[in-house]
Symmetry: C2
Subunit: 392 residues, 2 copies
């Protein structure tokens, strides 16, 4: 847009730029606190089920009593099956991704992007502006309920295993673990994963959430918005790091090797994955809780992770006293997911299983706003118009 | 982000907010002028081929001579085939969309979104930050070159026809028409469509372009960014209107009915599709040129469209003198595409065939910027934290 129009310059990457109002939640980076609606996310993860938190995000309030809680849980359990025509396409989708020669059966987030896009068409989703509130709610629930089914099926097909049908006796988190591993999980593992999922449902206007809202602002169908968000989540700057932190822990191998390894990394100018965050100036509240979740489960990997974390923080405090760094969500997220039996290439897809609930709450809010998001840019190229040379 | 952080408030929908610098082009709404790099887009459409303009957008300059022009055209001709595994999946993708009961074989943009996502995985596209400039350029060319092949195949499969292989003898525009209709187009029709495509390659930071840039800012692969942009383009506020303007023209049917029909619409408080634009305060320069393109082709529909436009502008000037409205790009875009033999449900997918070139130029620019786009929002819900009630 030319300088003749009214324009506003903002910080690069829209950092700190409040692009809209929201009632979904907030992140208070300097306090190490974040919340969904009026509730601390950490406290929700301590006290409530994922389904309750899902309803809180989507409808604006927690279920008032056990009957209301069970009613919503029952509603979403009934939406786990894939729409007609999608299951049949999944092997081809996974095979096309694998044929590219990617190790590990291709990129599971890429397959999820394709499969969810296909599911959106198979459901016949209509533009969100053509829907009343109940129709949009139905579409958003379908998307969130079917995402674990897609993720698990893609994982199993990539590994030469038959997909597993959802089990309506299990909670959202337990059923997801069941569909991935083929075994009904122990209660404590299902609860640990559920707490991880609750903690990562939403987190302010991160890039994938913002992507979903920009697409929704055009009135496009909800699957279009979620598919775009999955794309953003696949970026290494956004959703790609939990396995890298775990890789570091595995590479260290035993507690007594931690200090030498960490000093070696830092003196070589490398970053230690799982530490530091763009928003938090304190410990990441998600990390603090997930550390407790991991220690509740226990085991050799957890003991190692605790020791490595302690060492990293000590060495960082000693070598970079001017810039305190804290453990971020990725560090213990990887440990918890590993402990629950999820393989590393499922860490980011599992993040999508929870975050899709936050995206969908944001799509619903954006649908009510009915305002196109269409920014501007400053042209800094050569002055126009220059005469166009004729093709010779 | 809490008020303790440094925040900036901006106009709703980021209107007029310059989120970044660009060298790709600009829209000067008050002048009725827009340009790609330093050249008037309209002048480019008068003088150059689509392939030349594509190179201008992607590489920053027009080919210096005929040999350079032919070299790029030859390069992109060689990239029209779909990657292994995609053609086999297309019938299933189209069928899943049609099974939803949508009239006309489902939503072709939804199928394109799925198919391009699949193609991205089949090419094994890597995160843009892991690529050097030549590798990224190769990926972007693949996406743009294969998009018409996908769009045409989806159209034909939706209508029970066999997809047609690309013809390397034909230009990008002519080959697209050939793959849709099954007939090698007359030169004047191919040129008319080519001029439409050139005029719609890019247009500032519209919502789909911005979506592509937000996704690219995470470092995700280029297909992830384009798939998100297709989603935004599918929104009724963005890419959905060319067929509606044509519907109005068809509904009027003959020139002498124009005035009564238009007065009827306006007195009923309805909008006339194809008039007015968010940015231009003058005639849309794309409309002015496409009107000429249409009249060059001639025919009954074109005569009718010219008469209807004249009537609409007269009636609008009489009934709404305080708010001058001008013809926008959609009006003659529909007429030109219809005249070229493209059915109405292909109008927005055809828009994607050109706009993908703009998206990809923007992805390349965003890749060089290496800065995550992560805005913020203002929380306006009930104060947090409130105590979380125990599940009863």
């Amino acid at each position: 847009m030319s300088s003749a129009e009214q324009t506003v310059r903002v910080p690069a990457g829209l950092k700190g730029v409040q692009v809209t109002d929201t009632e979904i939640g907030d992140v208070r980076g300097s306090e190490g606190f974040y919340h969904y609606r009026q509730y601390s996310a950490v406290e929700l993860a301590e006290k409530r089920s994922l389904e309750d938190v899902w309803q809180l995000l989507l409808d604006g309030s927690l279920p008032a009593n056990r009957a209301a809680s069970e009613q919503f849980a029952s509603l979403v359990r009934g939406q786990r099956d894939l729409p007609a025509g999608v299951s049949e396409q999944l092997p081809g989708i996974v095979a096309a991704g694998s044929a590219s020669g990617d190790p590990g059966g291709g990129n599971p987030l890429g397959s999820l992007r394709t499969a969810l896009s296909l599911a959106g068409s198979a459901w016949g989703l209509q533009p969100i502006w053509d829907l009343d509130q109940q129709q949009l709610r139905r579409d958003l629930i379908r998307i969130c309920a079917a995402t674990p089914t897609l993720v698990a099926a893609i994982y199993r097909l990539s590994n030469g295993l038959e997909p597993i049908q959802p089990d309506a006796q299990l909670s959202h988190a337990a059923n997801y673990l069941f569909m991935v591993t083929g075994e009904r999980p122990e209660a404590e593992l299902a609860r640990a994963l559920e707490q991880y999922l609750i903690l990562t449902v939403d987190h302010g206007f991160n890039s994938s959430t913002f992507t979903a809202r920009v697409i929704a602002s055009t009135g496009a169908d909800a699957a279009a918005a979620v598919v775009g968000a999955i794309g953003a989540l696949s970026g290494p700057l956004h959703g790609g790091a939990p396995s890298r932190a775990l890789d570091t822990i595995h590479a260290i191998g035993s507690p007594e090797r931690a200090e030498d390894y960490i000093r070696g990394l830092l003196s070589g100018g490398e970053r230690v994955m799982g530490f530091g965050h763009a928003v938090y100036r304190t410990e990441d509240p998600r990390s603090a809780m997930l550390s407790g979740v991991a220690q509740r489960l226990g085991g050799g990997l957890v003991d190692l992770a605790v020791q490595v974390e302690k060492t990293v923080l000590e060495v960082l405090a000693e070598t970079k006293p001017e810039r305190p760094l804290y453990t971020n969500v990725e560090y213990y997220a990887g440990v918890v997911m590993d402990r629950c039996g999820l393989p590393e290439d499922m860490f980011t897809p599992t993040f999508a299983v929870s975050r899709v609930i936050g995206w969908c709450a944001n799509i619903a809010e954006q649908a009510r706003e009915r305002k196109l998001i269409r920014p501007s840019a400053r042209y800094i190229g050569p002055p126009a118009p220059a005469p166009v040379p004729e093709a010779d």
